[in-house]
Symmetry: C2
Subunit: 334 residues, 2 copies
């Protein structure tokens, strides 16, 4: 009871805000949890660790070794003295999610807890259905939990700009003002999904340091109660060919012999298309972008060199074809 | 094998087309199944009968008595000599759906098999989640079954124009051409959902005789392979107040004492808004609309009079509020 009383005041400027990071064991979520903890927020991670299971099932591993979430949190505490709470469970299980809300009492929730891979959603019917169920029901449950247990809580939900596809007009942030037959309205930007994950070949890029900065800016500048804001969260646009030439140059500087080869596009959108997406709203909130400089590519390539014995060359070529998805569970041999 | 061979030819003009009506025990589906059977199509109904269970659970019944699906099919056979096949099961169960496809081998599938009530989807978290799961996974399964078992099959899927909300611009059929910052593209019409069923106060109306006519026109004029067509399926637009005054007039003609009362809007969209939706594509295919004439209202009112002892006045006022939906299962007493 007394702990609950003190938490009720946590929106006073002096008290740190309590932020729940759903999907906090994942790529964006872990970096965000550390960044917010470092900035003085009270942080809890909610994650089912299902992403680790997918990697096991598909026989994949990350380039750099990733310690268990328990070890990572212990390490963070020993380095910084800060504790990040951990709730392991599936947000599609509403009983579990309710208990995490009642126990942690968040002021803000950052929701990264989705199946995020487009190729994964296109492997077979089972994975397509899993992706839909996991991502939609999980998000519905988060909305209901906020309404029931923390109705002042601010939700920061990560989506994907792939939802917009590659229209031949500029992509605005969330909404577009349309004049049609002499009348005008501002409507949600039309969606054109191209996979069961609703992701197409994204042309916007963002440094992970900017991901965490963007999320912090959104939390620090919450929407009005009831307001639905949309940010296009990226800082630079490149074509795949432009990226290839940047990597080639950076590799040559390190004395590597870099070759670019073209492979057939396994997805269904056009190879060549217009792409111009707006991204001014986060800049207005104060985002200071880290652009893809030579030094970042250098440091990434040095990681690849350091861990080159972990590279699994079998995983590099695309193996999931958008056109061949079928109903039969795809079994994967060693 | 031989039955399968003969069915392979069923797209020849001489042979009747085989049409699977998913949700064929429901309001639109039953009328469609009879209409197509009557026109010489081979028809199968696929339905889990879950809608009957909802009515039982909520203590509801229809104004006119509805016989069991088994009795209705027996009656149809004795009146017309025509047989409609019946497959009872849940299309979210892919094993069941696969067997119905392998057994019936449809040339066209008409998919009405969804939880279709917006208020139902807004009762509580459970029903919101059920609606999402049932409607999205069911439809995904239908798509995969077609791809796997009948890849030439034409799918006619009923949606709802409520998806478009009530924008301040004309609602086009599926797509809208937008010119923005000097560039032009034709994109899916923007969606604005207002309930978990994605339904808002629809202002378009359609006679059930036109529903079945529209579906038959779509089947008889199939889309090109791979083509995605969208029809706005309604014939007239009325405001709720206009409908009330039409019913009042028709009631007075029958000697009834009709009163109109206003009740607070349980939904969240505005009471007054622009609404102008296009609906020319079905007319171009040959739809001959039955408009809401005095004689139709007369006949509907005569049904109400005939079954007035079955009217449950407790069910008339809206009891589900869009703003009050919560996580707790709503239990309903007698
Ligand atoms: N990584 C990117 O570059 C990128 C780009 C655009 C959008 N996003 C979005 O950001 C979000 C996170 O992406 P990521 O790259 O960090 O993915 P990730 O797979 O690394 O992390 C997602 C985490 O969520 C967890 N999770 C998934 N479903 C869950 C459930 N039902 N209950 C509890 N935990 C669950 C997983 O175990 C995983 O740890 C996704 O929504 C993704 O679409 C990421
Ligand atoms: N009735 C209308 O005026 C109207 C208007 C606009 C759109 N629609 C759309 O038409 C469709 C049918 O509407 P209706 O009024 O006939 O609804 P209904 O509830 O009378 O019929 C739907 C039928 O589908 C069955 N069903 C539901 N989920 C199923 C599942 N998973 N597996 C097997 N069967 C399942 C139900 O048992 C029911 O018999 C819906 O998609 C609805 O949105 C109807």
């Amino acid at each position: 009871q007394s702990s609950s009383d003190s938490r009720q005041n946590s929106s006073e400027p002096s008290k740190p805000k309590r932020v729940m990071v759903i999907g906090g064991d994942g790529y964006c979520g872990w970096a965000t949890a550390l960044h917010l903890s470092n900035k003085g927020y009270e942080v809890a991670i909610v994650d089912s660790l299902i992403r680790r299971l997918f990697d096991q099932q598909l026989g994949l591993d990350s380039l750099t070794p990733i310690a268990s979430i328990h070890n990572r949190l212990r390490c963070w505490r020993s380095v910084t003295g800060k504790t990040i709470e951990l709730y392991i469970g599936d947000i599609c299980d509403f009983e579990f999610l309710s208990e995490t809300f009642k126990s942690f009492e968040p002021d803000a929730v950052v929701h990264f807890g989705e199946q995020r891979s487009a190729p994964y959603s296109m492997i077979d019917r089972n994975r397509a259905v899993f992706t839909q169920h996991n991502n939609v029901i999980g998000t519905l449950n988060v909305l209901f939990a906020i309404k029931e247990f923390r109705d002042q809580c601010h939700l920061v939900k990560l989506g994907t700009m792939g939802e917009y596809g590659t229209p031949n007009i500029d992509i605005e942030e969330g909404y577009i003002t349309i004049t049609h037959n002499g009348r005008t309205d501002t409507l949600p930007f039309p969606k054109q999904a191209s996979s069961f994950y609703h992701l197409s070949k994204t042309r916007g890029y963002l440094d992970i340091r900017d991901t965490v900065q963007c999320v912090e800016l959104a939390i620090a500048n919450p929407a009005q109660p009831g307001e639905f804001r949309v940010f296009n969260q990226f800082t630079e646009q490149f074509s795949v060919n432009e990226l290839a030439s940047l990597v080639t140059k950076a590799g040559e500087k390190l004395g590597l012999d870099v070759k670019t080869i073209s492979v057939p596009n396994p997805r269904v959108e056009a190879e060549e298309h217009y792409y111009n997406a707006k991204h001014t709203k986060l800049i207005e909130l104060g985002l200071e972008p880290h652009l893809l400089s030579d030094s970042l590519l250098d440091s990434l390539l040095n990681f690849a060199i350091k861990f080159k014995d972990r590279v699994d060359t079998k995983q590099i070529m695309p193996s999931v074809s958008w056109k061949k998805i079928g109903v039969k569970p795809k079994t994967l041999a060693a």
